[in-house]
Symmetry: C2
Subunit: 308 residues, 2 copies
């Protein structure tokens, strides 16, 4: 899949995704290796964290930093932030899958955490991952070379995105809405919190650690809001039309649960058109960025074309 | 209850505790007021957070700062940190009370969060409180007057204390040990993580925000380790001998669950002697501190004398 030129060479997006994903996994392994391996809660969090996700949030964080700065010296920080965001994403999946919540047995083709271990362990594994994310984001506290001010901003924006006004509140709203019909506006608001907030935080964290100006940060936030919503619309479409083998989970789950989805509220054709429109707006927000924003552009296109 | 002289006046510990507790509750109310009131998850976290605990962790944080510095300018920061620690303590109680964990219906004389609301809401309320704690600890990120370096250190020490190597790991170890007999060493290790880590973090956070030197910080950490353990020993004794009306929960719960406790492993007399010895060591660790450490000393004595 050869795409646009990036600094004179052809930009191979598939290779880019794969290279970043591998580096993120190495870094995640390193971070989890610091925990006591023999303990059950650590085995449980590792089971969920190292089960081969797309690593979209860390890759967005990295791509946003690359779009902002040619200076590679911030990249260690950017990987730390990206891994923290992946930990928070994984904790949210572990808790959402619990019997008291969405009660899912399968995730990425593997038993969910409470199935592979037990409910108490899964609750604690989620708690530990969320906490570890903040430990990682503050791990350079004792390093006089670190930019403590930027890191504290990152802690703040990530905690806002993950909390009651963001992801946690969105999950609550999603559960409360099961079986009732939402307006498109309410559906958009719910997703903007449940999945959108953390996607926006991923892009912002990378941009801040790379020293983005306020105006570039604003444009990247617009990009992130658009792709975050597009991602959810595409997810809803995949749930209706996707191949269970590719997705690692059953299809048609949303409909059986009477979840509000874009295809169910808009119709599938209109939902596909809406997703493409959002990607167009996301690309527009990057119009003043140079070729270093190519990975961000490719991610935007990938989000609506992916099969899982 | 008039005690030692503090800066020339008599030190009224009961009044001190009451005054600080009230200020902490006002600050907690202010911090929670920023969340969307009408939402279920916010009502649930407020139910547990504002249900009248002793506020021991914030008060330790404040007293540690007072022991280190006469300068009141750090006190706003110290209250923020103290409230964050109370949020983390409360989240841990909400999750520990869940049916999959300790399955408790009553806490501080009120229905536990999952009884008053439901399991899913209680899981999310705990998640939201843990996340809010980090939002509060990073809330001065945009303030150029703030000491970002100190705050990032506080985020780091608190996240370490609350995570898999600290509180979460301790709760896992406690659950795994039910029905098996632990050695005294293993019991001490478990409590050092489950309750001790957050108590030590409370003292350290206050000391760091007040600008403690490394040697003073070390002595305060020794104090905190001793009172943290003494607190747990006293808790175990209260569970055997306490008045349920004073405690707001049933007595004898530990024995029915075959939990390992100090009275069960050492005998009640020896456990009481051990608690007093720990308090003596804690007071010793403060020997080079002046009269401003009187609140910390009074807290150490109070921990083994309290009735709830």
């Amino acid at each position: 899949m050869r795409e646009m030129s990036l600094e004179g060479r052809f930009f191979d997006f598939k290779r880019y995704l794969e290279a970043k994903r591998k580096k993120v996994e190495v870094e995640l392994e390193r971070l989890v290796d610091g925990l006591p391996k023999e303990e059950r809660v650590v085995s449980a969090l590792r089971h969920s964290l190292m089960s081969g996700g797309k690593r979209l949030r860390p890759i967005l964080c990295i791509a946003a930093a690359e779009a902002v700065s040619r200076d590679r010296s911030c990249m260690d920080d950017v990987f730390l932030a990206g891994c923290s965001l992946e930990m928070i994403h994984t904790y949210s999946l572990i808790h959402d899958d619990l019997p008291a919540m969405d009660d899912d047995d399968l995730r990425r083709g593997k038993p969910t955490c409470h199935v592979a271990f037990d409910e108490a362990t899964a609750i604690l594994a989620g708690d530990a991952l969320l906490t570890l994310a903040f430990e990682v984001m503050s791990s350079r506290a004792g390093d006089p070379e670190a930019d403590h001010c930027r890191w504290l901003r990152v802690v703040n924006l990530v905690s806002r995105a993950a909390g009651a006004c963001g992801m946690v509140g969105g999950q609550m709203a999603d559960m409360s809405a099961e079986g009732t019909k939402l307006s498109l506006e309410a559906l958009r608001e719910m997703h903007s919190r449940k999945t959108g907030a953390l996607i926006r935080a991923s892009v912002s964290a990378g941009a801040i650690l790379a020293g983005a100006s306020r105006s570039r940060l604003e444009r990247l936030e617009k990009y992130a809001a658009d792709i975050g919503l597009a991602f959810q619309v595409a997810d809803d479409i995949l749930d209706v039309e996707g191949d269970p083998a590719m997705m690692g989970k059953a299809a048609g789950v949303d409909a059986r649960r009477e979840k509000n989805t874009y295809p169910s509220l808009m119709g599938p054709e209109e939902a596909r058109r809406f997703a493409r429109e959002l990607v167009g707006e996301a690309l527009n927000a990057l119009s003043s960025f140079d070729e270093r924003s190519e990975p961000l552009r490719a991610i935007a296109r990938y989000i609506v074309e992916r099969k899982r």
